[in-house]
Amino acid sequence: MQAQSPSAAEEQGANRTGAAPLLTLEKLDKRFGATHALKAVDLSFERGEIHAIVGENGAGKSTLIKLLTGVHPRSGGEIFWEGAPVALASPPEAIGMGINAVHQEVVLCPHLTVAANLFLGDETVRFGFLQHGAMVREGQKLLDELGFDLPAAVQLSSLTIGQQQLVATARAERRGAKFLIFDEPTAYLTRTETAALFLLIRRLKAKGVTIVYISHRLEEVFELADRVSVLRDGALVGTRKISETNENDLIALMINRSIEQIYHKDKVGLGATILETKGLSGKGFEDISIRVREGEIVGLYGLIGAGRSEFVQSVFGRFPATSGEIVWRGKKVDIRSERHAMDLGIALAPESRRDQGLCLNLGVGFNINLPIFDKLSFGPLINIPSEARHAERQIKEMQIKTASRNANASSLSGGNQQKIVIAKWLNHGAKLFIFDEPTVGVDVGTKAEIYRLMGQLLHHGAGLILISSYLPEVYELADTLHIFRRGSIAASHAFKDASHETILTEAIGV
């Protein structure tokens, strides 16, 4: 840092006085070893603007956040805060300046109360004793003011992920943030929670706080942002005023691919029934009757907690149903365990890839082969060449972007990790694929790839159950759409049989 002569710094600072932006980046650069994660990015953030940043996974968004919040040191370039150069070398420094981030994955203490989390590190103390009552009152007041319908006295872990995210936002607000970064904040939020969050973001903007909003959901960007910057392969490819651009324009900047090509729906003739449930009931769902045929995508749409995940988990044998029946390819079956479900030919791509889908610190090839090591074995021993061959073939077929089959799964982008999960099941001979929120936190390009993949599965004669809280996704893809509400099916539609509005109304149940 000392390499910069003070006079030069002052001069540059002087140029910026007057209408200096709150934060300016000049030729900001970051390398991780051989990887050039951020390439000479020039960007400025005005006071009180909502500045969206979009880009595919691996475009450099996360790296940018980490540099701005002091988590990683930069490899080159300058950062100016209110016109003056700053080091921004540690998270406390960033927080001290007023830079805060609300992450997609909540970083709070789940065992403490909401109020205790709000005041963490800055507790109200009198004579050396914590003032629990005062903190709960203050915290509740803050939450009420922000328009969040949340209790301050309960333990944080009793809230949903979405609600915890709101608490994290309230905490940043309390710490007097001047510059607030939201990283995919709505990925796990319900509509009402999203609405409350947007209201808060607008209020913060009115107070002069600068908001950086990172999201894969372009419609949110258009709803909220004043300006939008697009990153591609670590470089800034453009900054637009929101009034002077549109979705197609942004997507073209991000990937050079048009929106029609994203929801790529293969028309496949429907074959025999693979799975049928008749009046299936269990914990969290009731009287569910659906049918999945070969070549069919059955969409399950509903709010989070509407019972969709519980339903498919019971089909997958995790929490066996208490009544009703499951018919698998014409035969009545009683699925009591996941092993049983897998042996029948049911595959589940779980909602949380990181927690349930992958062995992150093991190789890509290892993960792909995990369900079929028994088939790759000759007697007790694994056939090492065929293990390698099989992994290579799947990597190629699924176009998984990885340095090698031995690279750790954690080194891949979210979309490519999703591909590993799917590849795992392909050669296991699965007939029914259950996708639980397959595109949460995944960029447009990878989304398109995942949809194409689904098309491939259909061509192989598989049936798909697609659970999604993202309406356009199920709307554009599902041959049959079931709307879940409070544990039962509120309505069912054929392909594009109902409007978005109708479906939403049915899901919310106004």
């Binding site: 070893g33 070398a89 349930q356 610190n361 093991l362 190789g363 795992k424």
Partner: protein
């Protein structure tokens, strides 16, 4: 202006694994060369065979322990199992049970102990740390109850003679390491069950959802660890000619340290067979060298303790980088 360069991210793969193995081997040879020059007694036949015998027992324990650590667990009971089994075989031989049957019965005791550990961990949901710590103290207690604190001497010379013997100039006990290590290598690196051990250590939930019978594999890991320990119990009884449940005190830490020195991650999913082998001989050489250099033997414990702290610290760093 250059801000500090980020360190390149290394991923553990076969190449790095071999590299670590070669580094450890180099370290071991270096220690031997230094000790050979520094002391007149190190490079004598007597000392080298002694070193091989002592290291062999820790090596077998460490291999068994490695299976457990790879699943993300820990087995603190192995020292106690060694002591208990040395007593068991001494008792059996005292009852004139044929040697072969006595050895099989002792290994079966190890199997039973492993089953018990896995039952507590899998079925009762106890943390491995607590389960095996509890059985450590309980096993010593049971042993003392049975023997009333007395030492049982073994009079069968065929049995004790084996430990003093050798084959092709190499002590028999060292051959026993190969008897354990070669099948262990195939199990860990060439069989599907080995793959499952790694998968469970990395993400048990993902393994379960991929159709891995997680419970059965955890049973396998703890059984292997206890059976290896029982085998070491047999070897120890051979070597010292007595059975005593208080023997092998602290060997669990030596086994864990050997495994970790050999590159096994205490956080699971990283490990090999050659690693703990090299690790155990490094540790044994440190202890042996300390003896020859007339270092107070109490220092050896302190060195082992510090070594564990340093190595686990670096293991933690390695994990954070990913």
């Amino acid at each position: 202006m250059s801000v500090q360069e980020a360190s390149p991210r290394k991923r553990p793969n076969a190449g790095v694994n071999v590299l670590l193995g070669l580094t450890l081997l180099g370290l071991l040879l270096l220690m031997w060369v230094i000790l050979a020059f520094a002391t007149p007694t190190f490079w004598t036949e007597n000392n080298i065979t002694n070193l091989a015998r002592q290291g062999s027992m820790i090596a077998i324990l460490a291999i068994g322990e490695t299976f457990v650590i790879i699943t993300g667990g820990i087995d603190l009971s192995v020292g106690a199992v060694v002591g208990f089994c040395s007593m068991a075989i001494a008792l059996l031989l005292g009852q004139h049970v044929p040697i072969g049957q006595a050895i099989i019965a002792t290994l079966a005791i190890g199997l039973g102990i492993g089953l018990f550990h896995a039952f507590g961990i899998v079925q009762l949901g106890l943390p491995p740390f607590i389960m095996t710590l509890a059985s450590l103290t309980a096993l010593r207690g049971i042993g003392l109850l049975i023997t009333n604190g007395a030492t049982i001497s073994i009079t069968k010379d065929v049995f004790t003679g084996f430990s003093r013997g050798g084959f092709l100039g190499v002590p028999n006990l060292f051959w026993m390491v190969l008897v354990v290590a070669i099948p262990a290598y195939f199990l860990l690196h060439q069989s599907r069950w080995g793959r499952y051990l790694f998968a469970i250590g990395s993400n048990a939930e993902a393994a379960r959802l991929s159709g891995v019978n997680v419970k059965a594999i955890i049973y396998l890991a703890y059984i292997l660890s206890s059976v290896c320990a029982a085998f070491v119990g047999v070897l120890l009884a051979m070597r010292i000619g007595i059975g005593n449940p208080t023997q092998a005190e602290g060997w669990e830490l030596q086994a864990i340290a050997s495994s970790v020195i050999g590159g096994t991650s205490l956080f699971g999913a990283i490990g090999s067979i050659h690693g703990p082998l090299l690790g155990s001989f490094i540790l044994t050489t440190i202890n042996n060298g300390a003896n020859l250099l007339n270092l107070n033997s109490f220092w050896q414990r302190i060195i082992t303790g510090l070594l564990i702290i340093v190595i686990v610290y670096f293991d933690g760093l390695r994990r954070k980088k990913r």
